[in-house]
């Protein structure tokens, strides 16, 4: 392992980290702007042009706030909860291919922190561990409402993980690989998976909403019933971490949706660009295209949040277990028949 390799990977990792943080920061701004747009308001417009400095002001405010701790016997776990939520939200970005490759100083730089063989399962594993942040934090708060929020979040995420995994299996049967890089490469030139797996995409999208605890599935922080859900007792930056983790999760899940079903960094005419304009320009454009797709999905998350009301808890469970899981099993069977018939 030479030092250039280590420097290259460190730069990629730090960049990915910074971009995830900045995207999460500006998602909070975008959320307010989208909400304002959908409700015919102006939204934040005091700090900076169009309120662009609002996230910085919010961050400063959260840091400066008094740190309140409830009277709980589990001070350590109370502290660990937001830490787990934040770190699992950031860990997923390790296997995401942001672009094909760049040629800098005669070296081929892969725009991905690591290309593991089991990337898709890795994402699934990290997502399934993410529940602990909410559960441990909610329980250590020593508050009934927090506990109820945590228990709801846990059962919701465990239930929707099943359907999510099953919809992934249908996709895997088509692609024959778990590596996100290979999945992206297979979709070169409008050969997007969404055209072959529309039902799988729909199931995955709904499950992504449930996994990130976004409306209409944000029962874990249902204000009218549970005050603030699992983060009722949190204040200052610990609270900020929970909220930040939600936006980071949103960014990552949008990236995964774009890569799995919408072709990742591929765009029509990419091969032509590589042949005629140059590898670097074509691939930088590819990164831009991926971010446009990601931003569309983030916008979609917000659009849904300000349009659709919250589900009731039994409706949520019925949707998960009685509709999505049978649907995804049928999807697997149909995918299998199609693969056998057309191969």
């Amino acid at each position: 392992m030479d030092s250039a390799f280590i420097i290259e990977k460190s730069v990629v990792i730090v960049t990915v980290f910074a971009i995830t943080m900045i995207m999460a920061m500006y998602s909070t701004w975008a959320e307010r702007k989208v909400a304002a747009f959908l409700q015919d308001r102006v939204g934040p417009n005091r700090a900076g042009w169009g309120g662009l400095l609002q996230p910085l002001a919010d961050g400063m405010k959260l840091f400066a706030k008094e740190e309140f701790e409830p009277n709980t016997p589990n001070k350590f776990l109370f502290f660990v909860g937001p830490a787990i939520a934040m770190s699992t939200a950031l860990m997923t970005s390790a296997v995401i291919p942001w672009g094909d490759q760049l040629e800098i100083f005669g070296r081929t730089v892969e725009l991905q922190a690591t290309d593991v063989d089991v990337a898709l399962l890795y994402i699934f594993g990290v997502v399934s561990v993410g529940v602990y942040g909410i559960m441990i934090g909610g329980w250590a708060s020593n508050n009934k409402f927090s506990l109820m929020g945590a228990v709801r979040a846990a059962s919701q995420m465990v239930s929707y993980e099943v359907a999510m995994g099953l919809s992934m299996i249908a996709l895997l049967m088509m692609t024959g690989t778990l590596s996100l890089k290979e999945i992206s490469e297979q979709q070169a030139g409008m050969n997007w998976n969404v055209f072959y797996q529309p039902v799988g995409f729909l199931i995955f999208l709904i499950c992504a909403f449930a996994e990130t605890n976004r409306t209409p599935f944000d029962l874990a922080e249902c204000e009218s019933e549970l005050i603030g859900g699992y983060h009722t007792e949190y204040s200052s930056m610990k609270m900020g971490f929970y909220l930040f983790a939600e936006y980071a999760n949103m960014f990552i899940s949008s990236a995964i949706l774009a890569i799995l079903y919408f072709g990742g960094y591929n765009y029509p005419g990419m091969q032509w660009m590589i042949d005629n304009v140059g590898v670097n320009t074509a691939n930088l454009l590819g990164i831009g295209v991926l971010f446009i797709k990601i931003c569309f999905f983030i916008f979609f998350y917000m659009w849904v949040r300000w349009t659709i009301p919250r589900f009731r808890y039994d409706q949520l469970m019925n949707l998960g277990w009685k509709i999505l899981i049978p649907l995804s099993i049928v999807n697997i069977v149909i995918t299998g028949i199609c693969i056998l018939a057309f191969k």
């Binding site: 063989d117 399962l121 529940v131």
Partner: protein, 171 residues
């Protein structure tokens, strides 16, 4: 000492420590959290063997699903020291006997499996890749693999039946 050996000792220390803490901590939720840490360090051991698939699946199934449900149940039941069930001596003896029998079975499995894995060792195939793993599971171990899936399916149906029965009684 090579870095791998140091990592191994480090992971082994974590595994043993968290396993003991699981048994000895008074609070059931702390026990469960130590058990989660224990599972993570075992996944680390799998990674040391270069078994990525096994490590990730271990995390998904044990840490991500089973232990979440465990924690969930413990939180809902709100277990205290007062309502801890006192186990009679005969069940403890039974547990020890079952543990010994289980370890005999496991040891024999490991001794026997070594000869089959030996052939793959010389062929120089990539053990990490899930493609090789899939081929081995559906060629050499076809029958046990199918048996295991049928067992899981039967268990699943059994659970659904059990939970349904309770509901009708309540009504």
């Amino acid at each position: 000492m090579s870095p791998i050996l140091i990592t191994f000792y480090f992971l082994a220390a974590i595994t043993l420590a968290t396993a003991f803490l699981t048994i000895y901590s008074k609070n059931p939720i702390h026990s469960a959290i130590y058990l989660v840490l224990c599972f993570f360090s075992i996944a680390g051991h799998y990674l040391l063997f270069n078994a990525q698939f096994l490590a990730i699946v271990h995390i998904i199934v044990y840490s991500g699903a089973i232990m979440v449900l465990f924690l969930f149940t413990i939180m809902l039941m709100n277990l205290n020291k007062e309502n801890e069930v006192h186990k009679p001596r005969i069940t403890r003896l039974g547990a020890i006997v079952v543990f010994i029998l289980m370890s005999i079975v496991l040891v024999t499995i490991f001794i026997n499996s070594k000869t089959i894995m030996g052939e793959y060792d010389t062929s120089g195939e990539d053990f990490q890749s899930i493609k090789t793993l899939g081929k081995i599971l559906l060629n050499e171990y076809m029958v046990p693999f199918e048996f295991a899936s049928i067992l899981l399916l039967a268990a699943m149906i059994g659970v659904v039946l059990l939970s349904k029965k309770e509901k009708t009684e309540k009504k």
